[in-house]
Symmetry: C2
Subunit: 412 residues, 2 copies
Amino acid sequence: MALDEINRSAVDRLHAAEPVLEDVRPAGEAIPGLTERTVLHAGPPVAWEAMCGPLRGALVGALRLEGLAVTEEDVARLARSGEIALAPAHDLGAVGPMAGVITARMPVFVVRNRAAGNLAFCPINEGIGRALRFGAYDDGVLERLRWFASTLGPALSAAVRAAGGVDLRGIMARALTMGDELHQRNTAATSLFLRALAPHLAAVPLDAGGRSRVFAFLAENDQFFLNLAMAASKASVDPLRGIPGCTLVVAMARNGTEFGIRVSATGDRWFTAPAPVPRGLLFPGFTEAVCNPDLGDSAITETIGLGGCAMAASPAVVQFLGGASVHDAARITRETAEIATSPSPHYRIPALEFEGAPSGIDVRRVVATGITPVINTGIAHRDAGVGQVGAGTVRAPLEAFRKALVALAGEE
Amino acid sequence: MALDEINRSAVDRLHAAEPVLEDVRPAGEAIPGLTERTVLHAGPPVAWEAMCGPLRGALVGALRLEGLAVTEEDVARLARSGEIALAPAHDLGAVGPMAGVITARMPVFVVRNRAAGNLAFCPINEGIGRALRFGAYDDGVLERLRWFASTLGPALSAAVRAAGGVDLRGIMARALTMGDELHQRNTAATSLFLRALAPHLAAVPLDAGGRSRVFAFLAENDQFFLNLAMAASKASVDPLRGIPGCTLVVAMARNGTEFGIRVSATGDRWFTAPAPVPRGLLFPGFTEAVCNPDLGDSAITETIGLGGCAMAASPAVVQFLGGASVHDAARITRETAEIATSPSPHYRIPALEFEGAPSGIDVRRVVATGITPVINTGIAHRDAGVGQVGAGTVRAPLEAFRKALVALAGEE
């Protein structure tokens, strides 16, 4: 089969994907291979010595939550000695935003691609600011994670099961016509998800105060849906992994030190480059000097053509680009189409006369044109224990795609 | 003061409006002057003999709900004899969609313009299809209205009061950046409203089944917010009424027989023309021959520059125009700007680089240019008892504006 045919047939699997939220369960029960000593993180593999501050901070918080460590020294010792098993979330079918740390007690969304049958997992979004995923680990951060495990996770589980699952593709398709690009902005998707689940959530046996806190948590976090979009993206693109000859990107992810991609034909191998520092809008009191290099598995949304690749859908996000206009947003999506294989039949963009989001990023086209995907992202403080300092955009580094193309050439 | 100055100063009152939902109460308690024998309807005044089918049907349903009548003959007798007092909803500070029938037991949204202090009222949206406002009055329609009075209204009241009111301008402004034009499409606004109210609604003392039905009702009706947008529009534009020399439109409304406008300087006088039949998409099994002429107070949204006037905000609605594109939607809004006084500082349209919705329709400009506002609308079956048959758009008839201009000229 010719290479273009292989890629086109591969991207059809992506277009056929039907991601459905089926449950919310503790990671230790839901994710095959995740033990009490496993610590998943975002991006390609990274040793403790090379880890950035926010990832170290998230490890401290997670190991405190699990009762495995108290101080940063404990964590360093456990990581160096191999007493905890560090691994990319992608290795176990999961994705995590920013630091992307997932441990056994954390509830995760269980998303099934009902077309192909495969599962993907992502933890619950904590809201903006001081959050574990940005490297914060104070008492407020840990209390919220304990409440996730004790109350929010079980309540969502009961509601999702009562609803018979929640169709994420439908919500994402509608949200894309409502100003979301499903990475930086998930306002519409969060609202639609709450609407879909509300009648079932209203019937979960909790006292009035507990029920009110659950609803308030979903209602007050415009980015709640991001983690569902991530799990849906992972579940949608995973059937494209390991197709001989296929040059499509199946993962883009960052660990705060390195940016990495995985390509279909080259299996689980990562092709990396130093992670660039995002540019964008910073919270008051912070400067570029404190921004950590790019971090998180959330670029799985760009991997399927959403996020920065679907910028034209989201005029509000364009403002993060500094002086950019709605016209510039359309230009970014049209540019991405040059490195993509075909437009999505489901994820359509009103401002482009309902043209589909550019899907199936082809390593060959990236290297040939020099165009790399635009990634929308949060920005973490470079020190452990601080948290989010802003949000912005970054260009995936060309070097990673060049390395992948060299490897692909060697295989053929 | 020069006329242009008068109009600009008047439209500033519109821009200053702060519509807030403060309560949900039975119309008989909330609306000053509404008695047990009052029946409000949409549009300019109309006698029983001249009433269209869906308005007659809605009267039958409403008088059954109130225990005042059983058959259509009872209703005709009560209307002819003056035993019930028919009046335009606008006369008592209220607006109603389609037939717009409001009677004492129906809960209404109580919206205060916190800038000017005035109140406006609108009943709760029933959902699409078989609904009282489209002239249906079967048992299902009446059961839902009884549930509004017994359960939904009091639950919403408790939640709204617990929330300290709900800022409608903020929701409408956000929804306009999320694909709503707030007449034909209220998907985003309904979702944002549910999010704002959900934490409080979750704490209302109801059993699990009752609570679930309340959430499901709000969750399953994309047009739930329309009636809030209408009350907010009415509350926002009412401070412009009765300004000497002001040529701005302060109401556009239809009773299914006539289309009418009110203009600031001419007070409560209606200027009318025969109501045109809307064009649009019909439900399967219906033809244009069964479509009733245009109906409802919902054009109060166009009166403040939303709905059809803000078409550019809502690419999904353009599809009702038949073969029209996103480009056509922008054209409609730009055209409306030619008959408006100034762009809204709050209601902004992303596709037009966040330009404000065209506000303050000037009768002089309408007659000078021949451009009349585009109104997005539902379409009722012309017979009593059937209900909705579709949705589409209509042009306000120029004749009404010409009559108003003649009257304004006579006053100066």
